[in-house]
Amino acid sequence: MWCKPSRWMVSRSEDTGRKLPGFAGRHIGRCRACGEFARSSAALASRLRGERAAWLAGVPDFSLGFESDAGPAGTVGRAAAADKPASRRPRLGLRPLPVAAAVLVVAAAALVLFRSAPRAPAPTAQGRAAARAAIADLRSAPARLQGVLGEAESSLERERRVLEQSVTSAFEYLQTRLNIRIERKEAPKPL
């Protein structure tokens, strides 16, 4: 009945260094199997520590690849390069002659483009004066706006007149052709 808790207490004592509780100590003194367990547990730690070096000495040595001049970082690079499978993507078969021709064409196109669209020259004193005059002209626009609007109105009036003449001549043609008379309706009288 006390075997399991007593053995657990033996293990706990091994791991934490705490004393065995009274019940466990008394049980171990009486129970032969638990006594054996306590003895083997106590021997186990020192035996495992003692045999560790001999056991490790039997492990076959292996290289980590760090001994090379390149060091671990270099090893990573080399290993990655060695393990990397060959790329399945077809390589671009660039031939020298077509490539040279293409480069020439591109260079010529660039030259033409740069010539046709030269950079704007740096502003000169004359340019600045012209710009100032243009700005002054823009500022005087409200004063000239009335005249501009009048011109636009007269143009509309001219358009209306042309349209009216066209309609009138169309009426006359239809009256003559169909032998009918179409009278112009008087405008409704205001109420």
């Binding site: 091994e14 367990f37 560790r52 990573v76």
Partner: protein, 202 residues
């Protein structure tokens, strides 16, 4: 290792600190000290010598890249084993295809010769060989506890488990090992028997 080599007398933490400052020689010394230890720790979990060697190499490469984040206030071994554990877990999570490949590799390599009793293990140590047959998780806690002298808290940190879980695993490992060793263990433990009995009686 030459006896008059000052680097051989430095602690792991001192070497790691120097490696963090850019000393490749210190890092190499750490790799020499730990590669076999890490190998025996990872070998039961990975199933083949080749996989274990690859995992050791990957762990050190990872450490080399992240050596700047090492805090000398902590033990180097704890950091190393934690990194190794995470690396192995990541490799197991990589996908079904790789797991299948791993399983086929294992099948090709055959079962662990130590576990099947065909080999006496690396150094012919009966106790450590017996420990390897207990199962991977029990062997790991035994190795960290007695092979690396880690505390329960450190083992819990390495394995990502609670302290109680670690103590339960250790208890089961001890129970299993005591059962496997039988009379041989009793004979070896006899000189200490009276001491333990006396301590228990008090």
């Amino acid at each position: 290792m030459a006896e008059n080599d000052p680097i051989a007398e430095k602690t792991d933490e001192e070497l790691a600190f120097e490696a963090r400052s850019g000393s490749r020689r210190s890092f190499e010394e750490l790799a020499i000290r730990y590669k076999r230890r890490l190998f025996v720790y990872l070998r039961p979990r990975l199933g083949s010598d080749e996989d274990a060697e690859d995992a050791v190499q990957d762990t050190f490469l990872k450490l080399f890249r992240n050596i700047g984040s090492y805090d000398p206030a902590y033990r180097f071994s704890t950091w190393l084993y934690t990194s190794a554990n995470r690396l192995v877990i990541d490799s197991f999570r990589r996908g079904a295809a790789e797991r299948a490949a791993l399983a086929s590799n294992r099948a090709a390599d055959g079962p662990d010769p130590v576990a099947t009793g065909e080999s006496s293990g690396p150094g012919g140590s009966g106790l450590w060989d017996a420990a390897r047959t207990l199962g991977e998780s029990r062997f790991r806690v035994l190795w960290l506890r007695y092979g690396e002298d880690m505390t329960i808290e450190e083992i819990a940190a390495v394995l990502g488990r609670t302290r109680l879980a670690v103590r339960v695993l250790l208890h089961r490992a001890r129970t299993g090992l005591a059962g496997k060793l039988g009379p041989a263990a009793r004979r070896a433990a006899r000189p200490q028997a009276e001491t333990v009995r006396g301590a228990a009686g008090r």
